[in-house]
């Protein structure tokens, strides 16, 4: 399984902070995103934002990053701390 986290606006808009996805159907971030967007048109819209950031195992990654069972993926907007 792959653990998927959402933060800030993305979590609010999806009303979801965490879910699990099967690793067998999500070999990389691109596949995972495409499966998440397929849930419904709202998920499609929220996860299509151009400034969406993704981290794999707590390190900033991109669409090509490979995934395997046990990985933690997080989607979030540009950071605004400090």
């Amino acid at each position: 399984m792959i653990k998927v986290l959402f933060f800030a606006q993305i979590r609010d808009q999806l009303a979801t902070s965490e879910l699990r996805m099967p690793s067998s159907e999500n070999h990389n971030i691109e596949m995972l995103l495409s499966n998440l967007k397929a849930r419904d048109s709202h998920w499609q819209t929220v996860l299509s934002k151009t400034n969406l950031l993704v981290a794999v195992n707590q390190t900033i990654s991109n669409e090509n990053s490979a995934l395997q069972s046990g990985d933690e993926v997080a989607f979030f907007p540009p950071v605004t701390g400090g």
Binding site: L5, F7, A8, Q9, D12, N51, A55, Q58, T59, I60, A74, F76, P77, P78, V79, T80, G81, G82
Partner: protein, 149 residues
């Protein structure tokens, strides 16, 4: 030392830890505060969310990069999370070095990277009870350019 905490911090106490080594000649500190006006709105309070685990990891990486570029004797980064009021201290970066140039550069470098890479998000509440997520500032991304020279 890197800390993510809900509690406030004291500048003199942090400064005293930074100057413990007697070779320290210069300490530069940055502190970020909750401002009354942001993005044209009157702010009354702020909630800071973060991504536990990744926060510490990214701050550690930023501090290591600074240490590889400048002569740093000691370094402290504190970032608060949770609810904060107007004028509250949000973030502290303190650098101790032999000479001031290293301390100034490293402190500004860490803040520039923290602002664009550390997974914190601010949600502001206004005086008329509106609440919204703060947008990232274009200027913060541009600020990184000076370090690639």
């Amino acid at each position: 030392m890197i800390k993510v905490q809900t509690t406030d911090f004291n500048l003199q106490a942090e400064h005293d830890k930074l100057r413990e080594k007697s070779s320290v000649g210069a300490v530069v500190t940055f502190s970020g505060l909750v401002r009354d006006i942001n993005q044209g709105k009157e702010v009354s309070s702020l909630t800071l969310e973060h991504y536990p685990g990744m926060t510490e990891k990214s701050l550690t990486k930023i501090v290591e990069q600074a240490k590889s570029r400048w002569n740093i004797i000691d370094c402290t980064v504190i970032h608060r999370i949770g609810e904060l009021k107007l004028s509250d201290q949000i973030v502290f970066v303190g650098i101790a070095s032999l000479h001031r140039q290293d301390a100034f550069a490293a402190c500004e470098f860490i803040m520039d990277y923290l602002k664009t890479e550390a997974p914190f998000w601010k949600k502001e509440s206004t005086t008329d009870n509106e609440s919204y997520w703060v947008d990232a500032r274009e200027g913060d991304l541009k600020a990184l350019n000076k370090w690639s020279k």
